[in-house]
């Protein structure tokens, strides 16, 4: 398992962690839907490829997973952010801000 993450993975991590922090516990489907709706369809990911990312983040200790019974007596695997995850979120947010600011600067001055 390589530890070098692509920028796409970093972005996905950022989105997932932010959502979990703001909205509490969510299951995989809710995350996928939220990303799609909130971005107004600008971001579409293969819903399936969300799960390997979620598993990776769970193994890394940034989020925690557990089966819960949601509304309608339905079982779903819910993910929550952990303390380590909050720290990682701060790092990823900073990384994103730096990246975005950098791109913007180049675009402005080019």
């Amino acid at each position: 398992m390589s530890t070098a993450r692509s920028s796409a993975q970093h972005t996905l991590d950022l989105l997932v962690l932010t959502l979990l922090e703001r909205r509490g516990a969510l299951h995989g489907y809710a995350l996928a839907t939220a990303i799609q709706e909130l971005s107004e369809d600008a971001l579409r990911i293969d819903e399936g490829s969300l799960y390997p990312a979620l598993y990776r983040m769970t193994e890394a200790g940034w989020i925690r997973a557990g089966w819960r019974t949601t509304e309608n007596n339905r079982r779903a695997r819910m993910y929550q952010i952990t303390k380590a995850g909050t720290k990682r979120l701060a790092e990823e947010t900073e990384r994103w801000d730096t990246f975005a600011a950098g791109v913007t600067r180049v675009l402005k001055r080019a």
Binding site: H27, G28, R74
Partner: protein, 884 residues
């Protein structure tokens, strides 16, 4: 806890699969629901949901990989696969596991002995706090310093006073043999046991508890005795009423006041003490004699004391003792130094004798284990080549080289582990036999050898070494021979690598070394047995007789005469000490007119008829008669040839012709008391102690009233009536005279070569094993060569190849490695034999007869190993093979 859950997922993969499947199913269901709510028909909703999701199978696989500890998962898989393979090929499993298991077992057994004899600390609490004392002293300015580890009773008392408050010390005599009677009846059965005299605080210092009664000996109580647990359970049957029971030791009634805790046998590994008695019960003269150094001092560091503390405290006490001994006036004539030595393993004497032979045995065992491992390794290598198709398929399915190597390594390690378990079983069976071998002998070495945790560690270590050797193989093999994982070759390729050839050479070299060493030890033993001892031991029984006080000589001679007159007895004689028993009277010889000698010679008191009984020829002069006594001004003495040559010869006596009668009448003095000896006869050379260093120079002279003596009886037929007669005659003498021990002279001599016997039998067994292993190894490789090249053989046969060409084909690529191995083996053997030369007798490092014997054995083994494969080669059906 991600790590824990990863591990759990390795062990319960189905749960993980269900988990992932359920999550995916849930997601798809929700998506389909949302689509249905938007008006999409059910079937279309499901399809669109699935399409949006992506490849569920690969998601599942990726998920599984992320959430499992892959390495452990792979390992479990490989483990199951290896076990399955071994079950499917029992023949292969046997040829791999049996030799490895046997050698690991042998090494483990020897390690258990080494641990019990040398490494293990004493079975007392905190053995690291024990210490002993040793002194190096110079008796005069010119003599070499003398080292001793025993001290006198007064010195001990001084030391004890000096150490008051910091540490405590106890005095322990050397263990000695004594007769033990289980009850106070004077005529009850006697057995020989071991008795040790100790100070009353000995058990307290050693911190050995009492299993029954008490272990503190009251200072004045000379009739108290403490039994060992072993003696209590073996001789007294663990009688619960043992305390206050009366027993007899050397005829003296004693009262048992306690039994020592289980597992404590004394302070000398290899000597089991049966009874402890107080020091005050020993000769009363010993407790005031400062020059009688006979007992060791063992102490325990108290509280925060250190070795230096003790040394500091004892310094002045020792100096005072030294001064009093050297010169009663007070000025010391020589110097002396007291050392305080830590003693966690106990007193060393019996141990010292065993260290070298045991180390040699351990080395031999390890060598054999390495041969076995190399053997199995080359077998596996040959097999690996036959599996190249399997490897190629795995590679094409995505296994990387590291994954393949891990699989092969796991298989080999599993093999090693199973062999280790088998080895443990073998060791459990071999250990009692080995311990029994050591316990037989003049100085029986009784060891508390057990298969305990420490031996387990040794076994695991050896197994680990084998596992590493076997496990690293696949790595090396695939690294140097990439064809091993090649799908293109339809026919598996025999790895004609330098590697497998080197293996054969190394195996042959090791095996050669083993066999040669084994033969060397056997030859050594044979040479020892072949020595002309100077007497005829066959038919001679040695009986030791003891009494309460010195017996008048006429009574002793009368006993000798009466026993000699018994039916079946050819002749009888009496002597002071028994031959080969370890006890000898030594003294320096002073010849008037010549400078005094430095070495000491044997002085042996014997009765008339001695030489006739032992059949040592008298070369000149006469035997002793009843008239010869010690009281004469010049003591009549018979000397042997070596003595005569060394001290009494003058020019012309032995050159050009031996004229021993010229020695008669010459005189010499004994250094100890200046007694004058006159030669009345010259006897042939004979051995009295060690067979290894040439015959001793012996001076025989008449008996004086003995308290203990030895009766030699040459007889034929049943020994029992003779022993009865001796018992009767001894009782008739009175003064408590009785028969102590009866043993044949043959077994006395045999006991002295017990160490050589141990080495010869054990190394012989290892040698046989090594030869077998090398033969199996060569056989295995040849077999696979034939099997994998059967096509080539078939073609050559079809083309009309002569049988000689077949032989060359099959054997060709092993001849050179074997030859190289033999050469290497010769070199290794020369080094080994030189290293073990102190244990060998009359064997040169490169002994031609042994070499020839070894090569002959190897030739036989080689022929046997090659026979079957050659027959297979000849039996190859060319037509069938060409068609396949």
């Amino acid at each position: 806890m991600p790590f824990w859950s990863k591990l759990v997922n390795v062990v319960r993969p189905q749960r993980l699969d269900e988990d992932i499947a359920e999550e995916i199913a849930d997601h798809l269901a929700r998506r389909a629901e949302a689509l249905r709510a938007a008006g999409v028909p059910a079937a279309e909703a499901d399809r669109r949901a699935a399409a949006a999701f992506g490849n569920a199978t690969s998601i599942r696989d990726k998920g599984r990989d992320i959430r499992t500890w892959t390495i452990a998962d792979d390992f479990l898989r490989d483990l199951r696969h290896s076990l399955r393979e071994l079950r499917r090929n029992p023949a292969f499993a046997a040829t791999a596991i049996i030799p490895l298991g046997l050698t690991i077992g042998a090494v483990t057994a020897v390690s258990a002995i080494v641990d019990a004899a040398i490494v293990r600390p004493l079975p007392v609490p905190r053995p690291d706090r024990l210490f002993t004392l040793a002194a190096t002293e110079m008796t005069s300015a010119t003599a070499a310093p003398v080292e001793r580890t025993t001290f006198s009773v007064p010195a001990y008392r001084d030391f004890r006073g000096a150490l008051e408050g910091t540490s405590s010390i106890a005095l322990l005599s050397p263990p000695g043999r004594a007769e033990i009677q289980l009850s106070s009846e004077p005529s009850s059965l006697t057995e020989l046991g071991v008795v040790q005299f100790v100070s009353e605080n000995a058990f307290e210092v050693l911190r050995v508890a009492a299993a029954a009664g008490v272990t503190t000996l009251a200072p004045g109580d000379a009739s108290a005795a403490i039994l060992s647990w072993d003696a209590w359970t073996r001789r007294f049957g663990g009688d619960p009423a043992i305390v206050n029971r009366m027993i007899r030791i050397d005829g003296r009634p004693l009262q048992v006041i306690g039994v020592a805790a289980r597992g404590f046998f004394g302070v000398e590994p290899g000597r089991f003490v049966d009874v402890w008695r107080p020091i005050s019960a020993f000769d009363p003269g010993a407790s005031t004699n400062r020059t009688f150094h006979w007992a060791s001092v063992i102490g325990r560091l108290g509280g925060s004391a250190t070795i230096d503390t003790v040394r500091g405290r004892l310094h002045s006490a020792y100096a005072a003792d030294l001064a009093m001994r050297m010169n009663p006036g007070g000025a010391a004539s020589g110097g002396g130094e007291l050392r305080v030595v830590p003693l966690p393993n106990g007193v060393a004497d019996a141990r010292r004798m065993l260290i070298r032979p045991l180390t040699v045995l351990l080395a031999i065992g390890l060598l054999a284990a390495l041969i076995a491992a190399a053997n199995v390794a080359s077998l596996l290598l040959a097999r690996a080549s036959a599996r190249s198709t399997e490897m190629a398929v795995r590679t094409s399915l995505g296994a990387g080289r590291s994954r393949l190597m891990r699989q092969l390594a796991t298989e080999n390690v599993v093999l090693a582990a199973i062999s280790g378990g088998a080895g443990w079983l073998v060791a459990s069976m071999a250990l009692p036999a080995l311990a029994a071998q050591l316990a037989a002998g003049r100085e029986p070495v009784r060891l508390a050898a057990a298969m305990d945790a420490r031996v387990l560690i040794a076994c695991a270590l050896v197994t680990g070494i084998c596992a590493v050797v076997l496990g690293l193989l696949p790595a090396y093999a695939t690294a140097t021979n990439p064809k091993l994982v090649n799908l293109r070759d339809a026919v598996p390729v025999v790895p004609r690598t330098r590697f497998s050839r080197a293996f054969i050479a190394v195996q042959v070299a090791f095996a050669f070394c083993l066999v040669d060493t084994g033969l060397a030890f056997s030859f050594s033993l044979k040479s020892l047995f072949a020595i002309d001892t100077g007497f005829d031991a066959g038919g001679v029984t040695v009986m030791s007789i003891g009494a309460d006080r010195a017996l008048p000589l006429p009574l002793v001679h009368e006993l000798q005469a009466r026993v000699g007159a018994q039916p079946g007895v050819e002749s009888a004689a009496v002597a002071w000490w028994a031959l080969f028993d370890g006890n000898r009277r030594m003294d320096r010889v002073v010849v008037p007119g010549r400078p005094p000698a430095e070495r000491e010679e044997v002085f042996s008191r014997v009765s008339p008829n001695y030489f006739r009984t032992l059949r040592t020829p008298l070369l000149a002069g006469r035997d002793f008669t009843a008239a010869d006594t010690e009281g004469a001004a010049a003591i009549p003495t018979v000397v042997n040839v070596t003595f005569a040559r060394r001290y009494l010869s003058q020019p012309g006596d032995f050159v050009p012709r031996e004229r021993t009668d010229a020695i008669i009448g010459r005189e010499f003095l004994r250094a100890a008391d200046g007694a004058r000896h006159q030669v009345i006869g010259v006897a042939a050379d004979s051995y009295s102690g060690d067979l290894r260093h040439g015959p001793d120079a012996i001076a025989y002279f008449p008996m004086k009233p003995p308290r203990w003596f030895t009766l030699y009886v040459r007889s034929s037929g049943d020994l029992r009536p003779i022993v009865q007669a001796v018992r009767r005659e001894a009782a008739a003498i009175g003064s408590g005279a009785h028969l102590i021990e009866t043993v044949s002279l043959d077994s006395l001599v045999a006991r002295t070569v017990q160490r050589e016997r141990l080495l010869a039998t054990t190394s012989g067994a290892f040698a046989l094993l090594g030869l077998l292993l090398a033969a199996i190894g060569v056989f295995g490789v040849l077999n696979y060569a034939v099997a994998s090249r059967s096509r080539e053989i078939g073609i050559r046969c079809a083309l009309g190849a002569p049988p000689a060409a077949l032989v060359q084909l099959v054997l060709g690529h092993v001849v050179r490695p074997v030859a190289a191995g033999v050469l290497l083996g010769i070199v290794a053997t020369a080094a080994t034999v030189r290293a073990a030369s102190s244990l060998l007798f009359a064997v040169r490092p490169i002994d031609p007869s042994i070499l020839i014997a070894t090569m002959a054995l190897f030739l036989l083994a080689a022929i046997a190993a090659a026979a079957l494969p050659l027959r297979r080669a000849r039996a190859v059906d060319a037509a069938r093979v060409l068609r396949s």
